[in-house]
Symmetry: C2
Subunit: 242 residues, 2 copies
Amino acid sequence: MPAPTPKPASPADALAPAAPVICTVDIVLLTLVDAELQVALLQRDREPFQGALALPGGYIHPQEDDSAWDAAARVLRDKAGLPNPYLEQLATFSGPGRDPRGWSLSVAYCALVPAAELAAPTAGPLVLRPVARLPSLPFDHRAIIDTAVARVRTKSQYSSLPVYLCGQVFTLPQLQAVYEAVLGEPVNKVSFRRKMDELAMLEPVEGAMTTGGAHRPAQLWRLRKPFERRLSLSERGLGVGG
Amino acid sequence: MPAPTPKPASPADALAPAAPVICTVDIVLLTLVDAELQVALLQRDREPFQGALALPGGYIHPQEDDSAWDAAARVLRDKAGLPNPYLEQLATFSGPGRDPRGWSLSVAYCALVPAAELAAPTAGPLVLRPVARLPSLPFDHRAIIDTAVARVRTKSQYSSLPVYLCGQVFTLPQLQAVYEAVLGEPVNKVSFRRKMDELAMLEPVEGAMTTGGAHRPAQLWRLRKPFERRLSLSERGLGVGG
DNA sequence: ATAATAGTGTCTGTTAGACATTATGCA
DNA sequence: TGCATAATGTCTAACAGACACTATTAT
């Protein structure tokens, strides 16, 4: 063996490593504005990258969080005023270079919320940016967002995921427009309605219709209770290309 | 507010939390033996749960690992003698109760290898157990394995994932048997071959046939180069129910 | 020749998409 | 009454699965 290297051999894992890992969560909070997927960003209030727009996130607090998921829910509650959004784990990003403070690990989560909920005054100083035209972002937040968008697009092809971008009640034409915005391509109306029927996740809201223009009003629908926090999956997808 | 609680209010995240998070990786190493999915387990050589069978894993070493993926690859290399297996991130498991040493976080990875590679003498003291009949396991390793198996089953429905359970070359009847073992149900031969053709990931190995019994030998195939480390995805799946 | 498995041709039922038609409210 | 959109009926093309048939080797 030549001269000693900066990488000390690990002492058989007997103890936790000396250099601690910085453990955080980051949330990709997506919503739909102007028929476009937008991500919520927050101006950082401290170093590193103080003042820059970045994903909402924060340290995992072992004292108060029962899991990384709980840490993400806490961040969403405290920084976005969202008490109970749809929230699912995306992936974990890690390495020595992604955070100037040192070797870091971030469990990334993806949250979907209706745009109306982000407009509420409790939503805090969130800033929305279209995922198709992102500003330059610190850390590896661009890669995290790209991963989230790809996941949402893929999952929308065969699941009820986009309903979390709608409000409590919605019409089928509205829901179809949401699918089309997320997938980025038109969807066949007849097939779409057949799929929604087959997914068996919607129930009509009796006696209620939208009013708008000089035309027939549309039936209102809402999620059936078993699917309020659980996706409905289609075996064959919606037939839109991936 | 009443008396002080054991949960100190977080000081605005100014510093990393006092109690460090135990950061590890765990690997669900799956292979196919006797037409059954089996997971590789290792007898733990230290506390906690010394002597018990558990998933191979270990601390993330910030000094030598460039990412959690690298840590998982290192564990597979050192503990299973596998230099370059198929390895993908599964999910991250965390919380105060999963490890008696304290609040811990484990990035779980899923590896697929041909059974022949695990039989090699370099493979170390790994023990294979059918995922359908798991022994009692420490930590939350049972939940991690169940998640991995569910993921592999789902992904096998629409991708080339099971080829990583085959060796370098294989016949289509062999590959179909692998799919059937993973999915747990028979697959239509004609449809299966149509899909394999459509996935465009295989190329015939010229002039080579398997020899075995008193019957027509089968064509040998191998993965085309672009797919050696990349899955091929089918838009519509293999038609088997999920 | 026979056995046994590999590989293919073909038919049929199912599914998805295109198109056309009816429904319903408002101006 | 006409217009605009909602909702549905129907035809057709694409696809998956069942079945049967041919191919090829060893015995």
